[in-house]
Each structure stands twice: as structure tokens, then as C-alpha cells.
């Protein structure tokens, strides 16, 4: 089910978002003066703007399109999804935010290298960061393809190519300064582009006395997931979100640990309140246009709902607005992921000068684009679910134990990351190869975090106990990152170690 003809009003709306992004990116380029500007925006981003930027990059395709569709199609899973997405910031606040910021690195890999005094730990974290960002950016580009086909009637490749081009150019030119401005602006665009059409939808339904506008073809009944699946999903979302590398990288742009904490509290509020909007879309969509859900096109619900409910002449404009907001979501999230990947790739593969950083940004974008074009567009939610489980089973245990436990060793960290990565990737591959099995095996493969996360924690603890290392440097590092900001001295981590 799509609008009868391409929504041409979406073309100028999307063009406006793209233009705004490029202008913001150029602004970032003009004020980017130093290495610190380029990597961490000189650590001078205030909490409210940083929170908006994190909100801009965090509320991705899954949040903008997937949550509403999931709520309409599969019921309570969407509820756990938004709870997990939001609650993850509390976990981040409790265990990671301030100490991580006080480590004064430029990338997550810097933290691993300094804490464990090990290049092996650094490289393991770098690989994980690239995998997470790469796997997470592909659904964003698939989402752009969905918008291109649903709204513009264009071939699927148009969306990914447009987003990748804008992101690649903006991030390669202006670095973190550009990303901060772009993402902060995109958060506001996203909220406005969902809220205004929703107001029209509710107003129209109210004027009609809340009657359904189409003869319903009833989708499957709303159901509840299994206790294991639900709890495992929550674990992967809560812990995976807390260790997402592009969110962690943004904490480095805060002036100090306390600002990082404040930023995370504000993000939790911004993200939490945002989710009321897609939930409303999902409920209204299931009730008013259930054919969309029954036709297995739930991901496009947000895009077509204004068209079907409001109708002419405003419906088309509102669809255009939602499409523009969706592109904003893809651009903001992809920007954060590209900048995170570029930082890691440039430092670990090519070297840390700006020319190579830019090359890395273009390379990361190009690689993601190729992956998006050659892979099948699975359900957005299913794809990101495994990415969260991967993050929760690799980075989260290593970060938490690295921050709080002085006996965690480099060997143990690498072992934990390896075990977690193999288990989650294995589960994801088996899940798709077996064509989404049901039952106990299906639950385990779809939601592996409840098994893998405790297992990885155990591996790190046992390995650290079996092969203990000198803890003096680790202890001093932990003391340093837990000190209040006021007693912080000139502790600074350079961009990369000498080989």
C-alpha cells in the first residue's frame, strides 16, 4: 500500500533537509581549527546541545520508522524497545559516562589502550567499533531506500546514494564540529516532522468522530512475547545502548565528567519523550489503516499514515514532511556512525592526520553504501536488535570492568570481546540462515544477550583471575577517571600512540 502517485512535494522537503545539513556542515568546517576540534569538537559542547546531538544521532531509522511499525504489527515488543532504548541511558549514566569522559581519549579504542596498556585490546575494540557502526549504518541506508520507493516512487538505490553522499561529504570536510551542528539541528527537525503531521492526524480523526477511514483487513492479533525473549531483549537494549560507540564518542565532546553526566540525563528525557510520538503513530495506524500492517509493510506506516487519514490537499504535504524528517534521521545517525568509524579507521589503519581522517570518512561511507546496496532490506528492527546484542556482549562488559575493576587484564578483555563477538554473530547468522525459526531455538538466536552477556562477564573475570597482571597502572588509571572534575590536572591523551 502506497500513495497512489509519487509525492512530489517530498522532493523540495528532502532537498531542504539536505541543504540545511550541508550548510551546517560548512559551518562546522569553518570553525574547525584544531585536531581537537576535528575529533572531539574541542570538548566544548554544552550539555543541552550535546544532548540534542546525541538525540539526533540516536533516534535512527529504527526509532523513526521501525517503532511505529512494530507497535502496530507485533504489539508489546515495541514497548520493550522504547523502554530499553531510553533505559540504556540510565545504565550509561550509572556505570560509564563520567569516568569514561574523564579518560580524555579521542576514541573508544583510546580508552581500551590506556586502561589495559595494550595494543591488542585497542585493536579488538577497534574491530568491534567498526562492526557495530558498519552493521548499524546499513539499516539507516535501507531506511532511506524505503522512503525513496514509498514516497518518491524512485528506485531503492536513490535513497542510500543520496544519504551516503551528503554524510560522506559533510563528515569528511568538517569532522566532529560539523557532526555536532548537523545532529543537533536534525533532532529538532525530526521532532517537528513527526509532531506536526501527528497533530493533523489527530485533528482529522477527532473531526470525524474517531471512525476508521478504511475497511479493515485485520492484521494478526496483538500478542505478548515470551518471558525469556522479553527479558533478553531488554538486556541487549539496556546494555547495548550504554556501550554504543557513537554515543560514547559524543561524551568526549563534553567539557568534563559532570557535564557528560548532565548530558546523559537530558538525553534520557529527550529520547524518552520522543518515543511517545512513534507509539501514537503505531496505535493510530493499527486502528485506522490496518491494511498497511496486514500487508506486511509496517515499516512504512509512519510515511503513509498522514496520506490515508488527512487526505488531500494537506496529506501529501504532511507525507513530504515525514519523509524529510526520516531523511534527517538517516543523515544524523549515519553522520555519527561515519565519524566514529573514521576516527578508529584513521588511527588504527592509516594514521591520524586530517587528510587520512577524511579519506577514512569517505571509505567508511562508501563501504556502508556498497553493503546497503548488495544486501537485502530485512526488517529494520530485527537488524538493529542483533547490533544491540553485539554491543552489549562485547563493549559493555569490557568498559564496565575496565572502569570499575582494577584486576581486569588486557588478555581477559580481548578474550571476552572475542567470545561475545563469535556468539552473537553466530546467533545472528543462524537466525537468518534458518529463516527466523520459532520456539526455544528461535528465541535464543533472536535474543542471545541474556546468555552471552553474563558469559562474557564470566570470561573476563575468570581470565583475569587465571592470568593476573600488574594492577598498579590500572589502579592509578581507575583512580584518575573517578576523581571529581575539580581535582583533575593536565591529564591528556594524545590522538595515537607511536608505533
Amino acid at each position: 500500500m502506497t500513495p497512489d502517485s509519487p509525492v512530489m512535494a517530498a522532493v523540495p522537503a528532502i532537498a531542504a533537509v539536505v541543504a540545511l545539513t550541508l550548510i551546517a556542515g560548512i559551518r562546522g568546517l569553518r570553525i574547525a581549527r584544531s585536531t581537537s576540534d576535528f575529533f572531539v569538537a574541542s570538548r566544548a559542547v554544552r550539555p543541552w546541545w550535546n544532548a540534542a546531538a546525541i538525540g539526533g544521532e540516536y533516534l535512527a531509522a529504527a526509532s523513526f520508522l521501525g517503532v511505529a511499525g512494530l507497535f502496530a504489527a507485533r504489539g508489546d515488543q515495541a514497548l520493550w524497545l522504547v523502554i530499553g532504548y531510553t533505559g540504556g541511558f540510565v545504565v550509561l549514566l550509572l556505570f560509564i559516562a563520567a569516568p569514561f569522559r574523564r579518560s580524555n581519549g579521542y576514541t573508544v579504542s583510546d580508552f581500551a589502550q590506556v586502561r589495559f596498556d595494550s595494543m591488542a585490546a585497542r585493536r579488538a575494540v577497534s574491530v568491534v567499533v567498526v562492526v557495530i557502526c558498519g552493521a548499524y549504518i546499513v539499516p539507516q541506508l535501507h531506511g532511506a531506500g524505503l522512503v525513496a520507493t514509498t514516497v518518491l516512487g524512485a528506485p531503492r538505490w536513490v535513497g542510500p546514494v543520496l544519504v551516503a553522499t551528503v554524510v560522506g561529504l559533510t563528515m569528511a570536510s568538517g569532522g566532529m564540529r560539523s557532526a555536532t551542528i548537523v545532529q543537533g539541528v536534525q533532532y529538532l527537525i525530526k521532532v517537528a516532522c513527526l509532531l506536526v503531521p501527528l497533530a493533523f492526524i489527530v485533528g482529522t480523526l477527532a473531526a470525524r468522530g474517531f471512525t476508521s477511514v478504511r475497511i479493515p483487513t485485520l492484521p494478526a492479533a496483538l500478542g505478548a512475547g515470551s518471558p525469556y525473549g522479553t527479558i533478553s531483549l531488554l538486556i541487549s537494549l539496556l546494555l547495548g545502548a550504554a556501550a554504543f560507540p557513537h554515543v560514547l564518542l559524543r561524551l568526549y565532546t563534553s567539557p568534563d565528567g559532570r557535564s557528560a553526566q548532565r548530558t546523559v540525563v537530558i538525553v534520557a528525557a529527550l529520547v524518552g519523550t520522543f518515543y511517545a510520538i512513534p507509539l501514537a503513530y503505531g496505535v493510530i495506524g493499527r486502528w485506522a489503516v490496518p491494511q498497511v500492517v496486514a500487508d506486511n509493510r509496517a515499516d512504512s506506516l509512519v510515511l503513509v499514515l498522514p496520506y490515508f487519514i488527512v487526505g488531500e490537499p494537506f496529506g501529501e504535504m504532511l507525507v513530504a514532511m515525514v519523509a524529510a524528517g526520516a531523511f534527517g534521521a538517516f543523515i544524523a545517525t549515519s553522520s555519527g556512525l561515519v565519524i566514529t568509524m573514521a576516527g578508529v579507521v584513521s588511527q588504527d589503519l592509516f594514521g591520524s592526520d586530517v587528510k587520512r581522517f577524511r579519506l577514512s570518512a569517505l571509505l567508511a561511507t562508501g563501504l556502508a553504501l556498497v553493503l546497503a546496496l548488495v544486501t537485502d532490506s530485512r526488517s529494520i528492527i530485527d537488524t538493529v536488535g542483533h547490533v544491540f546484542a553485539f554491543s552489549a556482549s562485547t563493549l559493555f562488559p569490557v568498559l564496565v570492568l575496565g572502569i570499575w575493576w582494577r584486576r581486569a587484564t588486557a588478555l581477559a578483555a580481548v578474550s571476552g570481546i572475542t567470545v561475545g563477538a563469535i556468539l552473537v554473530v553466530g546467533a545472528a547468522v543462524a537466525y537468518y540462515v534458518l529463516e527466523r525459526p520459532v520456539g526455544v531455538v528461535g528465541e535464543l538466536l533472536a535474543h542471545p544477550a541474556a546468555v552471552t552477556v553474563p558469559l562474557v562477564f564470566t570470561v573476563v573475570v575468570v581470565a583475569s583471575r587465571l592470568r593476573p597482571a600488574d594492577i598498579q597502572a590500572a589502579e592509578q588509571f581507575i583512580h584518575q577517571i573517578h576523581r571529581p572534575d575539580e581535582v583533575e590536572t593536565n591529564f591528556a591523551v594524545p590522538v595515537r600512540t607511536r608505533r
Binding site: 508489546d76 540510565v90 545504565v91 496483538l222 486502528w287 591529564f491 591528556a492
Partner: protein, 137 residues
């Protein structure tokens, strides 16, 4: 590798002269010191004298974090139990009412825990700071 401005050691304020384009400073590999050496140097000296003091702060903060995490877990378990133990909603408006209420309650709890932790953590640091200053006198 050169720049029109200094790098300010990576911490300076950028000049707000946006009328001209400036090349961004590249970190010079040869000039970057070994991370471990730098950190060991930064961590040595006067910081060592308050090791036990900082351990107490870390333990207090960990207790606070764990108690907040336990509260969050309890809230989530309650929410899961509430939703899974009751019959699925009959219609979309019913779902909105029931799951919307669960969502609102969890969101309030999440924000409450976050605000509580931040306030307690700040107070804890302030007290630690005062104790430390008193100890140095």
C-alpha cells in the same frame, strides 16, 4: 601538517573568525609521545597521596550505582510481569491505554533514577572534596 593557528594543545578555543578557511591541524606521529609514558607521568606525584581517599569515593559511587541499577531492574521486572501476566489488549485503543500507562510509569521511574543518581553523585563528590581539603590542612 602545518596550520595557520596553533593547536592550543588540543584544548584551546577556536578563533571565531569564520571568514577564512583554515586547514585543520594534523597530529604529528613523530611528535606524539607514548600513551603509557604520558599517563604514568600524569598519574605519579602528588596524586598518590590520596589513594585510600579515592578508593572510598569509588566504593561509595559503585554502591550508589548498583542500588540505582537494582531499582531500575525492579521497575522493569514489574513492568514485564504486568504486561506478560495479563491478557493481550483486545484493540489498539486498549493497547494504547494499557501499554501507554506502563510506558509513562517506566519513563517517570527512569528519569527519577537518573536525576537522583546525578544529584547524589554530585553531593558525594562535594563531600569528598571537602574531606580532602580538610585532610590537607
Amino acid at each position: 601538517m602545518s596550520d595557520l593557528d596553533r593547536d592550543h594543545d588540543g584544548h584551546g578555543q577556536p578563533r571565531r573568525d569564520a571568514t577564512r578557511r583554515v586547514r585543520v591541524t594534523a597530529p604529528d606521529h613523530a611528535a606524539v609521545p607514548d600513551l603509557g609514558t604520558l599517563i604514568r607521568a600524569a598519574l605519579s606525584g602528588e596524586r598518590r597521596d590520596s589513594d585510600e581517599h579515592i578508593r572510598r569515593l569509588i566504593r561509595s559511587r559503585l554502591r550508589l550505582a548498583l542500588s540505582c541499577a537494582a531499582t531500575l531492574a525492579a521497575v522493569l521486572v514489574l513492568a514485564v510481569f504486568t504486561v506478560l501476566a495479563t491478557a493481550p489488549p483486545r484493540s489498539a485503543p486498549d493497547a494504547l491505554l494499557r501499554w501507554g500507562a506502563v510506558w509513562a510509569a517506566v519513563l517517570l521511574a527512569v528519569l527519577g533514577i537518573a536525576a537522583w543518581f546525578q544529584a547524589r553523585s554530585s553531593r558525594m563528590e562535594k563531600t569528598w572534596q571537602e574531606d580532602r581539603t580538610a585532610g590537607q590542612r
